[in-house]
């Protein structure tokens, strides 16, 4: 009597693979869009301090970065744990800042040189002594536009 017969042999429909490529491409594009390349390898550990009044930097390409912090674990055996300055890819001292600024200036176009900002990315645990040295050196090179990197506090 039952209208619904169970005994019928039904074949499991095969999964259509035609949309597979759509999904793969979507994932590919998603990662392509969201990935940011890190320009330089960090050799110092930097956790920027929190500040609520931060402003966003308009043009990233006008920035030169000076990292200050204690070396990461891999370099501690060689350089100790004292706060160091990292310019581009290597540990440097304040004396090298002059050359670094000159090189960064040369890399910019004539019009952008005035707008170049030096971003000081210092770890929250460093002492002001080293930061003051960097600031004094920047003043000597007349790179006066600076920015203290900070992050927005988590709400």
């Amino acid at each position: 009597m039952s209208r619904f017969k169970k005994g019928d042999k039904k074949e499991m429909p095969g999964i259509t693979s035609s949309s597979l490529s759509d999904i793969v491409f979507m994932l590919l594009f998603f990662f392509m869009v969201t990935t940011q390349m890190r320009e330089t390898e960090n050799k110092v550990k930097v956790t920027t301090p929190e500040a609520s009044e931060v402003v966003k930097l308009e043009r990233k390409d006008l920035n030169a970065y000076i990292n200050i912090g204690s070396p990461t674990l891999a370099y501690q055996a060689q350089y100790g744990t004292d706060a160091r300055i990292q310019l581009n890819d290597s540990f440097r001292t304040t004396d090298d800042i002059r050359d670094f600024i000159a090189a960064e200036r040369d890399a910019r176009s004539e019009a952008d040189r005035q707008l170049m900002t030096v971003s000081i990315r210092a770890d929250q645990d460093v002492r002001m002594g080293i930061v003051t040295d960097v600031k004094q050196e920047l003043r000597r090179c007349s790179a006066l536009k600076i920015m203290y990197s900070a992050r927005k506090p988590a709400k």
Binding site: S52, S119, Q124, M128, Y148, R151
Partner: protein
């Protein structure tokens, strides 16, 4: 990921060594010295205070609502583009001094409070005059607000303020 947020500052140019040292005459009442020592304690003017009190102190210092003779004087200035023409601009300067042993975190916290004080004053001014917050105004109007309430923060020559003399 790189962080692209921060506090923007302009350093004073290095003084020319050949130039005669001329102390810029700034009237005593027009300057407030904020010092941070190596133990991250803050001294604003003459009293030791906490970071949380700093903002209100700076706001009071700059705006000088009761025209106190100990707080900065105001100079009536012609403001370009401002409908009322002139505004008494405060001549107050905040001088920030730190020790070599001050932690960077404390330094940024103080800088942040100083900026916050100025931003709040600008917001209040913008609300009063234009009925909008500073950030909601267009570029030209923002400039008027900036001219009326300047952000004068001077980072003094480094000194060891923590050391006993």
């Amino acid at each position: 990921m790189g962080s692209h947020f921060g506090l923007s500052r302009r350093l004073p140019p290095m003084p020319d060594p050949n130039q005669k040292v001329e102390d810029q005459k700034v009237n005593r009442r027009n300057i407030i010295v904020v010092k941070i020592n190596s133990a991250d304690r803050i001294l604003a003017g003459t009293d030791a205070i906490d970071v949380s009190q700093l903002k209100d102190k700076i706001k009071e210092f700059i705006s000088n609502p009761s025209n106190d003779p100990n707080l900065p004087e105001k100079e009536v200035k012609q403001i370009e583009g401002y409908s009322k023409g002139t505004y008494p601009v405060s001549k107050g300067v905040i001088s920030l001094q730190n020790d070599r042993g001050t932690s960077y975190q404390a330094y940024i916290a103080v800088q942040n409070e100083l900026v916050k004080a100025v931003n709040e004053l600008r917001d209040e001014f913008a609300m009063r005059e234009f009925g909008k917050k500073y950030s909601a105004l267009d570029e030209d109007t923002q400039k008027i607000v900036r001219d009326c309430i300047p952000q004068n923060i001077s980072e003094a020559e480094p000194k060891d303020v923590g050391r006993r003399r």
